[in-house]
C-alpha cells in the first residue's frame, strides 16, 4: 500500500480564468477515492489535467513514479491508468466488441485478450448479448457499462471515472456503482469524480470536496457523509 497518484499544488487556467486553484490530493493504492462537488467546481478539469487533455500552469502530477505532466496523453494508459470519460464517449459507430478492442489497443497478447473478453462478459453479461450491436444503439446505462468495460480491457492498475452516474436512472446508478465496487475489489484503484455525492460517499474510502477550484474539505468518506456542512450542501440536508 502507498500513494498511487499524487497531485500537488495544481493550477489550471482557461485563458484568464483560474479554474483550479492550488489543489493537492492523493489516491492510496487499493482505495476508492472520490472528488465530489457541484457543476463547475473543477472536477472534470482536474481529471483532464491528469490525463493530459488540459495543460496545467503549475503543480505536480505523479502516478507511480511517473510525471504525468510530461507524458503524452496517448502514453498515459500504458502506465496503467485508464479512464472512463465524462459523457461516456464510446465510439458510437463501432460495434460493442470493437469498442472493447479499442480498450485493449495497447496490448499485443492476442490470446489473453480473448480470455479477458470472456471475463469481462461474465462481469457485464449485457454487453455479451449485445457484442455485435453498434454501440450508439445501446441504452444510456449499457453505454456506461461499455465505457467502463472498455477502460478495463487494458488491465489497468487505476481507473479514473468522470461522472459515471450522469443521465442515468437511480436504478441504473445503483448498478453502475456496484460494478465500480466490484472492479475495486478485484484490485483496481479507483478515482471517482461525481456530482452524485450521496452515492459516491457510500462506496468511497476517502473523499475530497471541490468548491470553485479549491479543496474545501477532505476526509474519510463515512465522516464526510455525516458532516453537517456536507449534508446541507450536497446531500440535501
Amino acid at each position: 500500500m502507498g500513494v498511487m497518484l499524487s497531485v500537488k499544488n495544481l493550477d489550471v487556467f482557461y485563458g484568464s480564468i483560474h479554474a483550479i486553484k492550488n489543489i493537492s490530493f492523493d489516491v492510496q493504492e487499493g482505495e476508492i477515492v472520490t472528488l465530489i462537488g457541484a457543476n463547475g467546481a473543477g472536477k472534470t478539469t482536474t481529471l483532464h489535467s491528469i490525463s493530459g487533455l488540459v495543460k496545467p500552469k503549475n503543480g505536480e502530477i505523479n502516478f507511480m513514479g511517473n510525471d504525468l505532466r510530461t507524458t503524452e496523453p496517448h502514453k498515459i494508459i500504458r502506465l496503467g491508468l485508464a479512464q472512463v470519460p465524462e459523457g461516456r464517449r464510446i465510439f458510437a459507430k463501432m460495434t460493442v466488441l470493437e469498442n472493447l478492442e479499442m480498450g485493449a489497443y495497447i496490448r499485443n497478447d492476442g490470446d489473453k485478450i480473448e480470455d479477458d473478453f470472456e471475463k469481462l462478459f461474465e462481469r457485464l453479461p449485457r454487453l455479451k448479448e449485445r457484442r455485435k450491436q453498434i454501440a450508439g444503439t445501446l441504452s444510456g446505462g449499457e453505454q456506461q457499462m461499455l465505457a467502463i468495460g472498455r477502460a478495463l480491457m487494458c488491465n489497468p492498475k487505476m481507473l479514473l471515472l468522470d461522472e459515471p452516474s450522469m443521465g442515468l436512472s437511480p436504478l441504473l446508478v445503483g448498478e453502475i456503482f456496484n460494478i465500480i465496487q466490484d472492479v475495486n475489489k478485484s484490485g483496481v484503484t479507483v478515482l471517482l469524480v461525481e456530482q452524485n455525492a450521496k452515492k459516491a460517499l457510500e462506496i468511497a474510502n476517502h473523499a475530497y470536496v471541490l468548491e470553485t477550484g479549491t479543496i474545501a474539505m477532505e476526509g474519510d468518506a463515512d465522516e464526510l457523509a455525516n458532516d453537517e456542512k456536507v449534508r446541507k450542501a450536497y446531500l440535501g440536508g
Partner: protein, 293 residues
C-alpha cells in the same frame, strides 16, 4: 448494345474517380478537412510514372510501385508540413481549407517549373486485347480500371473493418480525444490516413495515364474536383459511398457524352451533385447519426 457499352465505359472512368474520391473521403472522415491538394497528388503520381518510364527508361512495374510509394510519402509529408500544426492547435477549418488550396497551387507551379507547362504524352502502358462479352467489346483500359479499383477498395474496406490500424482510424475519426485515452497515437493515425489516401490517388493516376495518355501540371484540378463531387455524392466519410459516387459520376458522364452533348458533361455532373444534395444533404450513403442520452 451501345447503351451497355457506354455504361461499361462510364464504370471505367468512374473507377478512377472512385479511387481518388476515397482519399477525399478518408481524410475528411478523420480530420474534417476537404484536402483540395488531393487532386494534385494524381498529377504528382502521373509525373512520377512519366519520369520513371520515359526519362529513366525503367520498367513499368517499377513506375507503378514508385509512383504509389512516392505519393504515399508525399501525402504524409504534406500533412506533416502544411496541416499538422494547424490540426494540433485546433485551428479553424477555414484556415486548413485555405492551406489546402495553397498546397494545391504550390504543387501545380512546382511541376510547371520542373517540367514545363505543356502537355507530355505517355507511352502505352498496359495493353492486352479487348474483352469480348457477348456482343460487347470492352477496352483493356476499362477492364483494368474496374478490376484495380474493385480490388483496391475491397482491400481498403478490409483494412478499415478488420485491421487494428483501420479500427484506430475509425476511432480517431469519431472521437480523437477518446481515441487518445485508449492509447491510440492519433497523430500517427492521421498521417497514415493521408498516406493511404495519396497512395490510392496515385493508383488512380496510373490508371488515368493508361486511359488518357497525356499529362500536364494542371491535370489534377478538374479531375480532383470531380472526384470530390463523387465523394460528396456518395456521402463524404463513407468508403462505399465514395465508390458509388465515383461509378455514378462516370456513368452519368459517359451517357451525357454519348446521348446529349460532350459540351454538357460537366454541367450534368455538377447538376447531379446539386440535386442529390438538395434531396439528401448527407449524400447517398451518408448517415446522420443521432446521439443518445
Amino acid at each position: 448494345m451501345d447503351f451497355f457499352s457506354q455504361i461499361i465505359n462510364g464504370l471505367g472512368i468512374g473507377s478512377i474517380y472512385a479511387l481518388v474520391a476515397l482519399g477525399y473521403s478518408m481524410v475528411y472522415g478523420i480530420v474534417q478537412l476537404i484536402n483540395f491538394a488531393h487532386g494534385d497528388i494524381i498529377m504528382v503520381g502521373a509525373y512520377v510514372v512519366f519520369v520513371i518510364i520515359v526519362m529513366m527508361g525503367l520498367p513499368l512495374w517499377l513506375a507503378v510501385l514508385g509512383s504509389i510509394i512516392f505519393c504515399g510519402i508525399a501525402g504524409v509529408l504534406i500533412e506533416r508540413i502544411a496541416y499538422h500544426r494547424l490540426l494540433v492547435r485546433d485551428a479553424p477549418r477555414i484556415s486548413l481549407l485555405i492551406t489546402a488550396i495553397g498546397v494545391s497551387i504550390f504543387l501545380q507551379n512546382l511541376f510547371q517549373l520542373l517540367f514545363g507547362s505543356d502537355a507530355k504524352s505517355m507511352p502505352r502502358m498496359f495493353s492486352f486485347s479487348p474483352l469480348q462479352l457477348g456482343g460487347l467489346q470492352i477496352t483493356s483500359s476499362t477492364v483494368l480500371n474496374i478490376l484495380v479499383s474493385v480490388i483496391m477498395m475491397a482491400g481498403l474496406q478490409l483494412m478499415v473493418s478488420k485491421m487494428k490500424i483501420g479500427k484506430a482510424m475509425r476511432a480517431t475519426s469519431e472521437d480523437a480525444g477518446a481515441a487518445k485515452l485508449m492509447g491510440i497515437n492519433t497523430n500517427t493515425t492521421i498521417a497514415f490516413t493521408f498516406g493511404i489516401g495519396s497512395a490510392l490517388a496515385s493508383a488512380g493516376a496510373v490508371l488515368y495515364c493508361n486511359t488518357y495518355p497525356q499529362i500536364k501540371p494542371i491535370m489534377g484540378g478538374l479531375l480532383g474536383l470531380k472526384a470530390f463531387v463523387a465523394a460528396v455524392l456518395g456521402g463524404i466519410g463513407s468508403i462505399p459511398g465514395a465508390m458509388l459516387g465515383g461509378y455514378l459520376l462516370g456513368v452519368a458522364e459517359s451517357l451525357t457524352n454519348a446521348y446529349i452533348s460532350s459540351n454538357l458533361t460537366d454541367a450534368v455532373v455538377f447538376g447531379i451533385l446539386i440535386i442529390v444534395l438538395l434531396v439528401k444533404p448527407a449524400g447517398l450513403l451518408g448517415k446522420n447519426t443521432r446521439e443518445k442520452v
